[in-house]
């Protein structure tokens, strides 16, 4: 049994337990130093993953390949950035009390769960990784326990999440029953030998996909997203939108193409349906939202739908486009949430879109950065979001999914409306009471770096595109 490929996760798990002990002994005043240690530990784990050998670990339970490493890089960037953004709000004055020291520790454990699940090479390791991540996220959603909305968000997320875990387990059980294996390689061999997937296997795949679709918040399993995004504390919402999305999308891609690759006839249509519904729900749902966190929730449903269009193509190109999309979406999300976190007036967080009115005059640089991010989300060239959509749509067209591609483009046009409305509010409306300035330095850093990445993607695309290409290639060679 080889443990070396999983050293990053082992390091992070140990770091989590040590930091928990430090937090218990020092108390909540250690919360802010802990966030820096957590971010450092995450990057240390990523660096360790770079040097450790790739390959199977623990007798085939886990695998460290290029796809896992790509997803882990996204998880680390997303988690570290949101952990640091949360540190900037360690002592909010809106009566919600200081940050609890458990918050960075739980974020670390959630990251461990995500890294485990993107490395999963077995239905059992998939489940334990997913559960570790989900359980930490349920608690994080409700960590401001004195807030009614946060408690509601946590409870809703927990109940629906438990239901989806049950469906996923049922599906995994059916797949185990009808292929006789839980290991992905052996499931793949069994599915290949089967030719046309048996009825029981198809039932298993459908339930497994329902569970996974819930985790990525794709329609029709998206109902929890707006409430949880709105109710949870904003740094936590940023965390939800960044790291778990990328992890769950990578997991979705691996499960569908690696063990069930030869059953694509069974799941292709379902993924196409989920993707089409998601882009439509994302486009229309966001039109009427005045709360910017709810708006971001619907926007995330739409973006996940777009990424899944890539998966529906069921080709190497499709998985590559999904990975590129989730990477670019991660940076757009980080920038948008850095801005939302900076939206404060008289030291209180504001979150309706009308509070953006006239921001171009009061906060010109912030408004410029957000405008770039929103143009990118809407898919306007030459920003990164345009290329993300381009890769996905070209993969779909290559696989003959013309209807899905047209639906995606139409939904993208509709969603332009609400992105452009935000820009119109910032640039053409009279300013209301000015928001607090200047922007906290850490938030400004995240916003600046993420916006820069979105802007220069057209000049230097290779760090994202080349690694995603290599990851997809390796996945399809297995």
């Amino acid at each position: 049994m080889q443990a070396a490929p999983m050293l990053p996760e082992i390091l992070l798990a140990i770091a989590g337990m040590v930091l928990l002990m430090v937090g218990v002994f020092v108390g909540d005043k250690s919360a802010k130093p802990l966030t820096y240690v957590v971010a450092a530990a995450l990057f240390a784990a990523l660096a360790l993953g770079w040097t450790t050998p790739h390959g199977d670990a623990f007798g085939g339970l886990f695998v460290a390949d290029k796809l896992a490493y790509f997803a882990k890089a996204l998880i680390v960037i997303g988690a570290a950035a949101t952990v640091l953004m949360a540190a900037g709000r360690a002592t909010p004055s809106d009566g919600s009390g200081p940050m609890r020291f458990e918050q960075p520790v739980l974020m670390l454990f959630a990251s461990v769960g995500m890294m485990l699940m993107v490395s999963a090479n077995d239905l059992m390791s998939l489940y334990v990784g997913l559960e570790l991540q989900s359980l930490a996220l349920y608690v994080l959603a409700a960590i401001r326990r004195d807030s009614l909305r946060a408690t509601e968000a946590g409870l809703k997320y927990f109940v629906l999440g438990a239901l989806s875990s049950g469906m996923l387990l049922y599906g995994a059980g059916m797949i185990y029953g009808f292929t006789g294996a839980t290991n992905f390689d052996r499931i793949a061999a069994s599915v290949t030998a089967m030719g046309t997937p048996s009825l029981g296997l198809v039932v298993g795949i459908v339930f497994l996909m329902a569970g996974l679709a819930f985790k990525v918040s794709a329609a029709p399993f998206h109902m929890w997203t707006p409430d949880v995004y709105e109710g949870a504390d904003t740094p936590i919402t940023a965390f939800f939108a960044a790291a778990p999305k990328a992890a769950a999308l990578a997991l979705f891609a691996r499960v569908m193409t690696d063990p069930l690759g030869d059953a694509a006839s069974a799941w292709g249509q379902i993924v196409a349906m989920i993707a089409g519904l998601s882009v439509i729900v994302g486009a229309f749902g966001a039109l009427a939202q005045r709360n910017i966190k709810r708006l971001m929730a619907y926007s995330s449903i739409g973006h996940v739908g777009f990424a899944l269009i890539g998966l529906a193509a069921a080709s190497e190109n499709g998985v590559r486009s999904l990975l590129i999309y989730s990477a670019i979406y991660l940076f757009m999300n980080l920038a948008a949430f850095a801005f939302i976190l900076a939206m404060r007036r008289d030291e209180h967080a504001v979150e309706t879109i009308d509070d953006l009115a006239g921001a171009s005059q009061t906060h010109p640089y912030m408004a410029l950065a957000l405008a770039a991010v929103l143009f990118s989300m809407a898919g306007i060239p030459p920003l990164a979001g345009f290329f993300a959509k381009l890769y996905v749509l070209s993969a779909a067209v290559d696989s003959g999914l013309y209807v899905l591609a047209v639906v995606g483009v139409l939904a993208s046009v509709i969603s332009c409306f609400y992105y452009l409305r935000l820009i119109k509010l910032m640039y053409f409306d009279a300013p209301r009471d000015a928001m607090d300035s200047p922007m906290p330095r850490d938030l400004g850093l995240v916003l600046g770096v993420a916006t820069a990445i979105i802007l220069v993607f057209i000049l230097i695309p290779s760090p994202i595109v080349a690694t995603a290409t290599a990851a997809a290639q390796e996945l399809f060679q297995r």
């Binding site: 339970l61 609890r100 454990f109 559960e131 570790l132 359980l135 960590i143 009808f178 006789g180 048996s198």
Partner: protein
Amino acid sequence: MIVATLCFYLFAGVAIVSGLMVVTARNPVHAVLFLILTFFNAAGLFVLLGAEFLAMALVVVYVGAVAVLFLFVVMMLDVNFQELRAGAARYMSVGALVGLALLAELALVLGGMTLGGVEVSGGALPTPPADQVHNTRALGQIIYTDLFVLFQIAGLILLVAMIGAIVLTLRSRPGVRKQKIADQLARTPEQAVEVVKVPLGGGAQ
């Protein structure tokens, strides 16, 4: 062989009779005691099947913990079981339906039903074969050796659950009287005892 068959009929017969007694006994304490008897007989049936780990787990978990807990609850709470039983006739039809569904499933399994080309009752063969290794050892091998990393991650999940329970519910309230053992131990006789002279017929101040 004949002994095993006799044992099977003994365990099965007692299990059915005591199972019936669980639902018909008038005294709730008797009902719980019959439940424990049923568990013991089911454990005996598992031993006959060669599943000694399941038999042990049944005795330890169900008899040792769950049934005794039941017994405590039944004896300590003043529950009127006659009242609870009053509605039984109304729900009899639903119960019968559930029973019929279970019976039908049993018949399907025994009748060799196939689903997607796989026989429903034809479970995967145990690995390693049961005559080579005891199932306790086989389970231990799988959980603590082959899949020990999953066992560790499960521990991590429980840790996160524990953190969550504490984060979401534990509150330090001011003004709560707590026992401070260090303070109690540090007390000296001078702090605790006051020696007063009581004049005859005067009483202590």
